[in-house]
Each structure stands twice: as C-alpha cells, then as structure tokens.
C-alpha cells in the first residue's frame, strides 16, 4: 500500500551482533550500518547541507565485548524497497558474518525516537571467573529478598552510591548463566556488571574480578499500561 509513495516513513530494524563483531564499538557499528544501508539501496532520508547525514538512531549503545540477540536502530526512508521480509533480505545481503538482520517493522508516525523509548533490557551473563566462586543461586535469592541494593556508581565527575534494587525487574540463575532484566532508560540505566558486583557483595562481601561473557537478549519499551514490550513489537508489519 505504501510502495513508491514519497513520504517519510520510520522503520525499526532489529539485528544481532555476534562473534568477532562484538569487538566493533558503538560508533563504528553506526558507521557500519550507514555504509550497509547505502550498499543495500534502501531509500534512506538525509539531512541537508554540505555533509548530509542519514537519518538514523540507535536505541542503546552496546559495549565492546558484549554480544546481542536484539539491537535496535531506527531509520527514516522516503520509500520502501519491498515488504517486511523483502527488505529484511535486502539488508541481510549486506551484512558481514556476525551481524544478522532479524526483522524490520514500520513505526507509527507519532512513535517516540528509539533512544527515548528504551525502558529496560535483558541480559544473560556467564561468569568466567578466576576469583572466588560463589553460590549464584543463593546470591540471586539474597538480592531479590533485599529492599535496597547499594552500588557505587562512577561518573566522570563524581562517585555516588545508588540503590539499584528497584531497577532490577527480573533476576535468576539457570544453565550456569545469570539472567536479568534491568532498567535501561537513559535516566536509570543499570549495567549487567553492576548486578554481578552486587551478587558478589551479597554473597562473599568480595569483589568480582573475573571476566564476563555478556549477551543482550532484548531491549524493551513500556506500554501505557506499564507493561514492558520488546521495542521491535512497537512497529507493525508492512
């Protein structure tokens, strides 16, 4: 219905980032997508001026070393190159090993921008520890039972103690992984590392000093009802 129509449309792209691609930083991932979109022939909109930029916004930066099952980037296009499945294929044809386009959806015109929409994210964390081994199940239970979990949050300017307990929405231990769903909004972002540190503190009063293998599973937005919904599901089929 929208084919060939020349109006700005917002598309939401969901992709995975695995293997060697976890070493590509956030800014480089953005540049990677800009080039991939050019190669694909997707009719993306540009800003004006002498160095025009593609209209593109990533939901949440992913740290170097972290893999992801579900990253979100929104783009604006002038026209569609095909339906949802076709456009997914078109963009997938430009991906290098480690990046896969899972889905592309059409966003309603009044959709909030990707970054502002982010409410939460879920992660699976495997601990490759060299330090003290703790009983994760017990530690998870201890955290969930607490009213307050204080962690030291460092910013460039200051160090403050903050309570992250209200922002841990889900926490469990299974298959040798810590699974969590935490606040990922710009105001209250909780890093998976914060939660792991809290687990160690709860159990041993020891500091974690091993290595983590982190996978982001999903990025969520929040419906008016207060319910969390995967960001990709805020878009529709086309």
């Amino acid at each position: 219905m929208l084919y060939g129509q020349n109006t700005d449309m917002k598309l939401r792209i969901q992709f995975t980032k695995h293997g060697a691609m976890k070493f590509i930083g956030h800014l480089d991932t953005m540049r990677y997508f800009q080039k991939a979109i050019r190669r694909s022939g997707i009719d993306i909109s540009y800003t004006g001026g002498f160095s025009p930029h593609q209209i593109m916004a990533f939901a949440h930066p992913l740290g170097v070393g972290t893999e992801s099952e579900s990253e979100i980037v929104d783009i604006e296009v002038n026209s569609l190159n095909g339906n949802r499945a076709e456009m997914t294929d078109i963009l997938n044809a430009q991906m290098s090993e480690g990046f896969t386009i899972r889905d592309i959806r059409l966003l309603p015109d009044n959709a909030a921008n990707a970054m502002a929409s982010v409410a939460a994210a879920s992660y699976s964390v495997r601990i490759i520890s060299s330090g003290p081994q703790i009983d994760y199940e017990r530690a998870v239970k201890a955290i969930l039972d607490k009213e307050e979990v204080l962690i030291l949050k460092k910013t460039k300017k200051s160090e403050t103690m903050t309570d992250i307990r209200p922002r841990i929405y889900k926490l469990s231990y299974r298959d040798e992984c810590i699974h969590m769903c935490v606040d990922a909004s710009s105001a209250g972002n909780v890093k998976p590392e914060h939660v792991i540190n809290a687990l160690y503190q709860a159990e041993e009063n020891a500091l974690f000093d091993g290595r983590l293998k982190i996978v982001r599973n999903e990025i969520y937005g929040r419906l008016d009802s207060g319910e969390l919904i995967p960001l990709i599901d805020l878009g529709t089929d086309f």
Binding site: I24, K35, F50
Partner: protein
Amino acid sequence: MRKLALSDEILLSIDKPARYIGGEINSCIKDKDNVDVRFAMCFPDVYDIGMCHLGIQILYDMFNSWDDVWCERVYSPWPDLDKVMRREHIPLFALESQDNISDFDFVGITLQYEMCYTNILQLLDLGGIPLLASERGDKDPIVIGGGPCSYNPEPIADFFDIFYIGEGETRYRELLDTYKACKAAGASRMDFLKKACRIPGMYVPCFYEEKYKDDGTILERTKKYPEAPDTIRKEVEMNLSDTYYPTKPLVPFMQTAQDRVTLEIQRGCIRGCRFCQAGQLYRPVRERSVEYLKSIALEMLDSTGLEELTLSSLSSSDYSGLEELLDFLIDECNKRHVNISLPSLRIDAFSLDVMSKVQDVRKSSLTFAPEAGTQRMRDIINKGLTEEVILHGAAQAFHGGWRRVKLYFMLGLPFETDEDIEGIGELCNNVAMTFFDEIPKEERREPVQIVASTSFFIPKPFTPLQWAPMGTEEEFVRKAHVCLSGIHSQLNQKRIKYNWHDTKTSELEGILARGDRRLSPVILEVYKRGQIFDAWTEYFNYETWLEVMEQMGIDKDFYTVRERSDDEIFPWDFLDIGVTKRFLLNEWHNAQKGIVTPNCREKCSGCGAAVFGGGICFMDRTQI
C-alpha cells in the same frame, strides 16, 4: 564462524581490537586447500594507516582474481599487542584466515616510507621468519618487497629475497607461475631465486655485492651469480584503462586514516620538480580514460557504501579530462549524498568554482605548495609556481569566500640563503596583504588565517637533487628559527601561524633514503634493541639509532651532509627507471644555474622515460 588467532581476553585488553579480526566487507576468503599460492601482503605500519592504501588494494584485488592464489593482509601489531604476542609466543597471522604467516608461500611487504624499516623486522620476527634472507630455508616464505622505497632497496637488502621494482600489475603472474613450476618440480629456494631474477623487474639482492673505495663511496658492484642481470628496469603498466582496479575495495569496520573511495586518475607527473622523487619514478605520465574512471567510480561507491570519494594523482589539475570527469562525479555524488575531496588541485578559477560546489568554503582551507620563499629558489628546484600566480589565486579565493590558506615550504634546499628563508614570511605576508587589498572592510568579519608549514628537504634517489647535501639537524633548527623570525617581522604576523616538521625524523629519513648495504646491520641492531614504529613520534627514539651507528662505526654525515661528486656511483644506480642518470645530472647542473626546465606537456626534455613506448611522451603536443 571464523576462528580468531587472538583470544577474547587478549582482544578486550588491547586498544582497537577491530584492527586484528579481519572479515571486513569485500575481504576475500578462499579455501586454503584449493589454492596453489598463499600470499601475505604486509603493510609495515598499523592497520589504521595501511588499510586504505590504494597500491595494496590493487594488488589484493588482482591476486584474488586469480583462482590459484589467495592473498591476505597483514599490518603491524601496535606496541600493546606486540608485547602480548611476544610474551605469549603468538605467531603473527594474516587477517583473513588468521593463519600464521610463516605457512605462506610469499610474504610481500610494501615499502612506503623509510621510517617503517624496523617494522619490517617486527613483522618477520613475530611471524617466525628468519630476519636475514641468507638464513632462510626452503620451508620459509619468499620475502618480497615493493613500493617507493624499493627504488633504493640497499639499506634493507639483507632482509629481502626479492624486490619487485615497479608497478605490480605487470609481472606478478609470471613470478607466481615460475614459483608454482619450481614448487611442483621440488626445486630449492636458490633455484627459484635464480629463475626469478631473470623475470623483468625482479631484483634478487643476494646475487650482488658492493665494493667500496677508501673514502667509503662505491667502487663497483659485482655479481655473485653471472646470469643475474646487470641492471633491472622498473615495470610500468602502460594501459591504465584496461587493467586491474579494485572495484570492490575493502571497507574497514573501524575508522581509518582515509575512509573513502580512491579514484586514481593518472600515474606520473609532467612537472619535474627537482626535489620530487615520485615525479621522476613514475614517469611517463599515463592517464586513465574518463570513461573508465566514470564506470569504476560508480562501481566502487555501490560496492562499499562509503560516503566520500577522492581523486588520487600527483597533480590532478594536469589530468586532461578533469572537467568532464568532475562534472560527472559532482552530479553522481550529489545524487548519492557522497562528499568529494579534491586534493592536489592547482588554485585557479576553474578549481575554485569546482571546490565551491563540493565544500563549505567558509570551513575549508586552500592549499598552495610554493615549496620555497623566493623565485630564485623556486627556479633552482624547478617549481613553476610564481608569486604572481599565488597572489592572483588567493585574491580569487578570498572573493569566493575562503578565509583560510595553507602554504607548504621546504627548508634546507641546496643553495638556499637566509634571504630565501625570510622570503617565506614575505610571501605569507603578501597573501595577507592581498586579503586586505581585495576584500572591503565590511566583508572582513571573518579574518584571514594563514598557516605556513615547513618540512626539511631530504635528497632522494633518482631525483636531480640526489647529488645535493642535506642539512644537519642543527642547521635545520637554525633555519626554522630564521623562518619564524622572518614571519614575526611581518606586518601581518598575527594572521600567520607557523609549523615545522621534526628535525630528528628528517635526519634519519635522509640517512636511510640514500643509504647502502652497510646500513642493514644497523637497522637489525636497532630493532634488536627494541625499536619499532619509528614513524610515530611517541615511539621514535633517535638516540638508539645514533648509539648503534656509532658503535658500528657508521658515520651518518657520510649519507647526509656530504655533497656527491658528479661521477659518484650511487647504491641505486643499477636500477633503471627510464629516466637516465645523464638527464638527472643535467638537471642538477641546471639547478645550480637556476635554469628552469619545461614540463612534459610544453616540451619533451628527453629524460629517457620514452623507452616505455607510451604515455605523454608520444602525445601530439599541438593537441594539448
């Protein structure tokens, strides 16, 4: 998934891990069991610098277009990773397969600047390949060098089995076929090298010896293998519109020095500036056709998705189809929201018009390269740019809205006097004066900014100034101060900013550029003392070099400050670049007399490059 040579733990502990993972868009993966020749193409500097190098991309593309060859890339591990690799005994690997380079048939190393010589040894050492060619056995890869510095390969002769002299497009197929035949016949390394040296363009250094006179200059060059050729003529690709070009260039994952599509429009330069090595090495001028360039430009934009395109040549303004090409490119790039950068354009009405279409004039700066401060000096170096032309161009530019002007000069040119150096300040001041004369007060809200940069003249092989003495470090420092006070004495000194290039780096570059085989042990020892990445000021340590040279009894002044006599035999004389030594000597004499030589388009001066049978030498001058 491809398995990486480095563990996650290591990759996460070093700076920019994306340098080492390979897998970039348009990189080439083949089955190693289905190829006959594995070629590791090395750039002896960090990935960020080497990745975009056009020469490597051309060869990479050419090799991989052949089914029996797999060419992969290698860059110098940055010092952080270098340490880890040595500590944990991790052998150097190629990016594509992540396999150890010692398993390859060839290790090719591009020689872009002298300051990368210790990095050559780093690559070989980390790769587990004996540093000295004489110590390599039948199982070791053939180490082959190419690129600008192979035009004086002698200081690094000990480390290479072969140097490929000239442009890579022409003879690699023959070399690899010879290699394959030798391999199939079970021939030894030496047998292969004996065959290889008979292929045009191939220089096998172990077949030659230098003998020296008491004064240290070369007495003669003798052959240890009688069948080896006396001279080696450079290879040139004469048809640049029907040859290899990487229409699917590699696209890095990380930001590199130049993230753009490079369109090489021609090779060579008609101008013959007497200090310029490239201007002599790549003669004769050969253009690619406009049609060919149009088609490959679009192909490259489509295959990479890069957002910038740049023209590459020594002097783009001299390209005969420039107007037609630029009209086309500006149009296409606009459609695709791609930026164009136009380096090496002469400033005139045409180029200003073009530049105003592709850049924000208020934010961009104009570049002039007068190279010397006075006309006398510019005549000596055969730089055709006059003060009148510069000021006229600047005036037009100021009217066009430009406010920033960069001027490039050299200090330490032969026959230079302090007046010539002070002329730099005067010329800069005159550019500023032009601004105030031309631009009415009400349009001067944004003030004019002039940046003068000086580098130190380094005499290079195969230039008319190869006989000239180079300045000492102390002289350079003094000259930079003369230049600075020359600028400070100007009326508009507040509008002029002055930068100068590091003197120590220049001196070492000067030693290596005109060096001979006696420097190989020096480079080896400096490397053994831990020196790498000399091209990076933060890692360059000139003290080590001076120490080693002193301990080995090498007099650096012999290579730098000494004026060569007309009949001196140079270490690189056995190479034939087409341009004759007789022509260069004549040019050196013209320099002494301040006589200007016309460019190839005005008149042929009979430099010798016509032996290649094409290019500008055979164009009808009444038509151009």
